[in-house]
Symmetry: C2
Subunit: 207 residues, 2 copies
């Protein structure tokens, strides 16, 4: 393909493959050298590719960063999407969803602190990508809450407002800043206590 690829819709085939290779190389360089020291030219050199070829896929360093962050967030969301798609108790699924989100973020801090720091910086810069991510988190929680209402587990008039409240109430455990600050400390017991309050709220018809 000769035309520049758009960052969200990507056709199958060779262009898509090259795009993935560029993202993987960029991820690797971010891990080793950090965001400030990673340039499009470095990425091209690592792939023995002309930087014109990289620019064919990503029009700027910012676009490349956004795509790297987007792919990272996509991977984090995989087990969460699976929980949303399950049948079974909404209360149990919502608790598992919150615990999984916190565990995913925590695992990044523990297993790959340099990459987490690089991604955190990317995420802070890439506002639109982060907004789309938060929207997806809200959609996930609202979907489980709607299931809970249908199953007669929850009494909630406005699932979207309730989803916002659930994410706000638990952000202490999954927001990148706090995950970083707590150095990957296990906060499971504290999450469970907050979740008990949240669950009582979703059952009470208060929202």
């Amino acid at each position: 393909m000769k035309k520049p690829a758009t960052p969200t819709v990507e056709p199958e085939g060779k262009g898509s493959e090259t795009r993935e290779r560029i993202l993987t190389a960029a991820e690797d360089l971010l891990r080793r050298h950090g965001l400030a020291k990673t340039t499009v030219v470095d990425v091209a050199r690592a792939l023995e590719m002309s930087h014109a070829n990289v620019y064919r896929h990503f029009a700027s360093k910012t676009e490349l960063q956004d795509a790297v962050a987007q792919r990272w967030l996509h991977r984090i969301m995989e087990p969460l999407r699976a929980i949303v798609a399950e049948d079974g108790s909404a209360a149990e699924r919502l608790e598992r969803w919150v615990m999984t989100l916190a565990a995913q973020k925590r695992a990044k801090v523990l297993n790959d602190p340099e990459l987490f720091a690089a991604y955190h910086a990317v995420a802070q810069a890439a506002r639109a990508v982060v907004e789309a991510h938060i929207d997806e988190l809200l959609d996930n929680v609202a979907a489980i809450i709607r299931d809970g209402v249908e199953r007669g587990e929850f009494k909630v008039a406005d699932p979207r407002a309730a989803a916002t409240a659930v994410l706000n109430a638990t952000s202490r455990f999954h927001h990148p800043y706090h995950v970083k600050e707590s150095g990957g400390r296990d906060t499971s017991d504290e999450i469970r206590d907050v979740f008990k309050l949240v669950l009582a709220g979703l059952r009470s018809g208060t929202l």
Copy 2:
């Protein structure tokens, strides 16, 4: 007085007065020049005092910073302590306490951003001061929850654990990082929704 003053217990009289003057001068310099550029020598110069005299009250720049942060936090806590001491509905007082804490932090960002940034840096460095502050916040919330249990409003077996959960669930609205990040945006509606969940939890006997 000739002996160095300890930072927490301070006798009444001239020593205490000098100590307050030093803290006020340090606060003023922090506001104008930031934490990195404010030295004990600057504080002494602003007061036309020998720096040996400043050191008589604060053994190091760190000790001075801690005391400045402590005084700032003490001021923030005044209206909160008053709410704890009131009679009346525990649910209403707890909501007002949370809203007041968020409003206090928000006011600092809006009205005095430079000083807030300097204090935020001081707070991040002065771990012991911050821990004492969080302990006081927990004590406040636990006291209101105990009142609520006595008044038959709440069903809570472990008020301290419940207080931790309440502060965790609302930290999105009063933690310095988020207050700074949100640029002082009014989050009252979002706090109220989270508080509804929290309140249902405190009434349900889940904690």
